[in-house]
């Protein structure tokens, strides 16, 4: 494992040279991620690694892509998706138009999960799904809608556990170890790079999903990001977080009402 002081030197240099600010990331996870790239790329001394990051913008980009966690799955936490399917989306369905933001969408599995549910509820045609991430490489995968076939069995189980009743295999074509999801699903998706640490609100949404992203941030940054979501959420819109995340410490609780025991909050006033 690298040393704390080395990690701080890296954070400073990446900010100074490239403007990416990891200063408010949770240190325990970040340190593991940086150590992982350091050893993966065969460095022996930290100063060599640091100098490579400073002098080689392409390498710095690779390093950032590698330290951000990009593990995701379709219909992760089926019970959460069941509530979305049965309760939240039907409420949003009464609106003429549904705008959804997947913040920190990674390779897009949750965006495709959402599109499948919207399609089954007859709402996809009037929806638009914005999907953003800090990492440009994962957005390319997300756009392609191509996921490893070995994961599909788990996804099909999750899909069924989350209330899906169709034949899951109707949504993709399997080939060469990959599953390519139907373009009908991605038609309503817009992908773009967005950094929750430094970028601002860019639209108003009825539903914002940001699941297992805030866990990588310290309390101050969590506060900033939750307020960014607040600025981007219409009144009576919903914010959905990961199963172990909360807005409790980030924003006034008079503005938001938790939806049953789920990690879903409704904005009840401006």
């Amino acid at each position: 494992m690298i040393e704390d002081i080395e990690l701080e030197a890296l954070i400073n240099d990446v900010y100074e040279y490239y403007g990416f600010d990891f200063g408010s990331y949770s240190r325990a996870s970040l340190k593991r991620r940086v150590s992982r790239v350091f050893y993966l790329d065969g460095f022996k001394h930290f100063h060599e690694f640091l100098s490579k990051v400073r002098t080689d913008p392409d390498y710095c980009k690779r390093m950032i892509d590698e330290i951000t966690v990009n593990v995701t799955e379709m219909f992760r936490d089926p019970s959460f998706y069941l509530v979305l399917r049965n309760e939240i989306l039907p409420l949003l369905g009464t609106k003429p138009f549904i705008r959804i933001w997947h913040a920190g969408c990674s390779t897009g599995e949750e965006v495709y999960s959402m599109a499948i549910m919207l399609k089954e509820l007859g709402l996809l045609h009037k929806s638009i799904l914005y999907a953003t991430d800090i990492n440009a490489a994962v957005l390319e995968t997300a756009k392609s809608g191509i996921f490893p076939l070995r994961m599909i069995k788990d996804y099909a189980d999750n899909y069924r556990d989350s209330g899906g009743q169709q034949d899951f295999s109707d949504y993709y074509i399997a080939n060469y170890g990959f599953a390519k999801f139907s373009e009908e699903l991605s038609e309503k998706m817009v992908f773009s790079q967005h950094n929750l640490v430094s970028d601002t609100s860019f639209n108003e949404f009825d539903l914002i999903l940001c699941r297992n992203v805030l866990i990588y941030f310290d309390n101050n940054l969590q506060k900033r990001v939750v307020n960014l979501f607040d600025d981007s959420l219409a009144v009576l819109g919903f914010l959905a977080l990961g199963t172990k995340e909360t807005i409790k410490y980030s924003i006034s609780q008079t503005k938001y009402k938790q939806f049953e025991r789920e990690k879903i909050w409704r904005k009840i006033k401006e």
Partner: protein, 198 residues
């Protein structure tokens, strides 16, 4: 119990790892720990992703000590039990909070025992005790080595008393545990932590 090789005092955290067969051991230990405890207990066991809360509910029911729900950045306080949630790695921060991470599985496991043990070793050093229970995977061995190197104390469940001996055996083979104890001796050991020894 064998002779104390090192007096266990100033312990802040006891971290317990296990896999297959470890629940049985936990159920023989947790209900009998003398309350209150002057340290925190953190439990990292392999479990199904679909098991969202059942383990917490079961251990909360059986344990003699309050089980705190682990949410992101929860403060780690002595006197309580914390359980690594399913499908997350559990990490330790310098400001004595717990944080979570959904990165790749380690040793086919999330939570991984190695990940949590290594992270705890970094923060708590010699104030940490690591206990590795029954299991049939090699997770935990590197974590035990990390605790050892950071000056903490390591305890392995005696493979003869473990339902699955692979995990404890692997740790015994590749590290130098301070203690190798049967289930009931582990209980006795925990009840002796931070207390005067004769």
């Amino acid at each position: 119990m064998e002779e104390n090789k090192r007096i266990v005092k100033d312990c802040k955290v006891v971290i317990i790892g296990g896999s297959a067969g470890s629940l049985q051991a936990l159920l023989q230990i947790l209900p009998f720990i003398e309350n209150p405890i002057s340290f925190a207990i953190v439990i990292v066991v392999h479990r199904k992703n679909s098991d969202e809360q059942t383990l917490e509910a079961l251990l909360a029911l059986k344990a003699n000590i309050v089980v705190k729900e682990v949410e992101d950045k929860v403060a780690l306080k002595s006197g309580f039990i914390y359980i690594a949630p399913s499908n997350y790695h559990l990490l330790f921060e310098r400001n004595e909070t717990l944080s979570l991470d959904t990165s790749e599985k380690i040793n086919y496991s999330r939570p991984s025992i190695d990940v949590s043990f290594e992270s705890a070793a970094e923060i708590y050093g010699s104030s940490l005790i690591g206990i590795l229970l029954s299991g049939s995977n090699s997770d935990g061995t590197l974590g035990m080595k990390a605790i050892e190197q950071a000056g903490g104390i390591t305890v392995v469940q005696n493979p003869v008393s473990a339902e699955m001996s692979f995990m404890p055996n692997n740790a015994i083979l590749h590290s130098q545990p301070d203690y190798i104890l049967k289930t009931e001796e582990i209980l006795e050991f925990i009840n002796g932590i931070n207390k005067e020894t004769t």
